[in-house]
């Protein structure tokens, strides 16, 4: 099956964010709203462990939610006391995110195009990278996200745990360890562990990297 072009994929996501309910639009399209809520909560729980359980109102952590969609994770993490920047390419999703408010600052940007004068304690990218179909754009995105992590900070990205890459349908390309690890190791990131979602039959989980140099 042929993959969507970048323009087609972008149009697909903008339309999906306009048409689908809050959680299904950015979550799992096959699950209903209630199941998606469980799915979101499961991933948030994993993120809590990876971001850490400390929060300070005077010296908060600074987080980047890359591919934030309608901003559910951004808002929840902001409720933990963290300062969150959310970026996404879909104007429709961002309009919804801004309408919901909740503390994060939302910006329209691709993952490869986000520029900041500040580094982040944590950069997280939840179920977005396997929707980037072009390998070149995927590499630019991962490299840019890694460059935004400060020394000792963490990069959290979702993909599957297999070694190889594999297209799924016409709008997903799952990429494995043999693709992520060489690139991120070269960029100064150390793999600390893989944390599977263990939700229904999902094959996805979080890779947690720490910047060591």
């Amino acid at each position: 099956m042929a993959l969507l072009s970048d323009a087609e994929a972008s149009a697909y996501w903008n339309q999906r964010h306009q048409q689908e309910s809050d959680l299904r639009s950015g979550g799992h399209i096959s699950f209903d709203e209630a199941t998606n809520r469980m799915f979101y909560m499961r991933r948030l729980s994993l993120l809590m462990d990876l971001v850490g359980l400390q929060s300070s109102p005077t010296a908060p952590l600074f987080l980047l939610d890359a591919g934030c969609g309608k901003g559910w994770f951004s808002r929840e993490l902001a409720r933990f006391g963290h300062r969150v920047d959310g970026i996404d390419g879909s104007e429709a999703a961002l309009a919804n995110a801004r309408q919901n408010g909740g503390g994060p600052r939302f910006h329209q940007s691709s993952l490869s195009g986000w520029r900041s004068p500040w580094l982040y304690d944590v950069v997280l990218c939840v179920d977005v990278l396997f929707h980037i179909l072009s390998d070149a754009e995927w590499e630019r995105s991962v490299s840019n996200l890694a460059s935004l992590v400060r020394l000792g900070g963490r990069l959290i990205i979702a993909d599957w745990d297999a070694d190889h890459d594999e297209p799924m349908g016409d709008y997903q390309v799952l990429r494995g360890r043999n693709t992520y690890l060489p690139l991120l190791s070269k960029l100064g990131m150390r793999l600390d562990g893989y944390h599977p979602y263990d939700f229904r039959r999902s094959v996805i989980g979080f890779y947690a990297f720490t910047r060591t140099c």
Binding site: S56, P117, C213
Partner: protein, 272 residues
Amino acid sequence: MLIKEIPALVGEASTLVWAGDESRATEVLKALLDGQDRIRRVSYDPDDTAMFDPGTLLVALAGPDLDAGALAPALRRLPPGGWAVLLLGWPLDELPYHVLLEPLVDAKCQVLQAVPVDRANRHGVHGAVVAARVERLAPIRPYLNDSPISLDGAEPGLNTLLRLTGEYVFGDLTARPLRQQLADLKDRAEAQRERIRELEEAVRAGAAKAAGLDARHTAMQKSLTTAQERLAQVRSSTTFQVGHTIVQGARRPARALVSVPAGLFRAWRNRR
């Protein structure tokens, strides 16, 4: 982070030396060591120069009353691998860390982690610095978890040091314009507060002036009422009635033959 979570960052320590203000020791150590009885406090003699025992945790309260000169000798007594926790009595956005860097560097101590501390209103500690005496650089601390800090592990390599110095230089560059903006905003906020104070003063002065005018108006009103009452008394007196009748009769003599006797009779009948 809660203050009682800090000792766990430094792993195993069997004894604790308090090198801070003795008057605060009981209160702060009670909060710091809440629920821990494995750490025994030993006394600190500032005149002693012998090294502390291995496994000693040096704790000092560094705040506005800090005598940096007193902190340095205590840090110098840490043996290699010895730990220090400096509890910060300053709000973090006002932390004058230059007074801490000098004694830490002088004693060959590496700052390994600095954390904000919750509930400063209870114990006066806004943050904490965990440092250790080192003979070579300790690994860079992944700071997002609460696991004990380790001095073991490979010394940071050249790439790590290049990134560290690069982050420092670039961070400093981007912080400068923001520091300037912050200073400008603080100045503007102070100017606005001063203007608000002036306006409030003017409002208070206006209110006082209005209150003075009100009092004067009330006094004049009272005086007028008194005068009106006095006038009414005069007008109703027999003397005034007789005088008024005679004056009216003098003005109109033709009517006086009737009006004066009638008026006088009325005045006599209503006399008071």
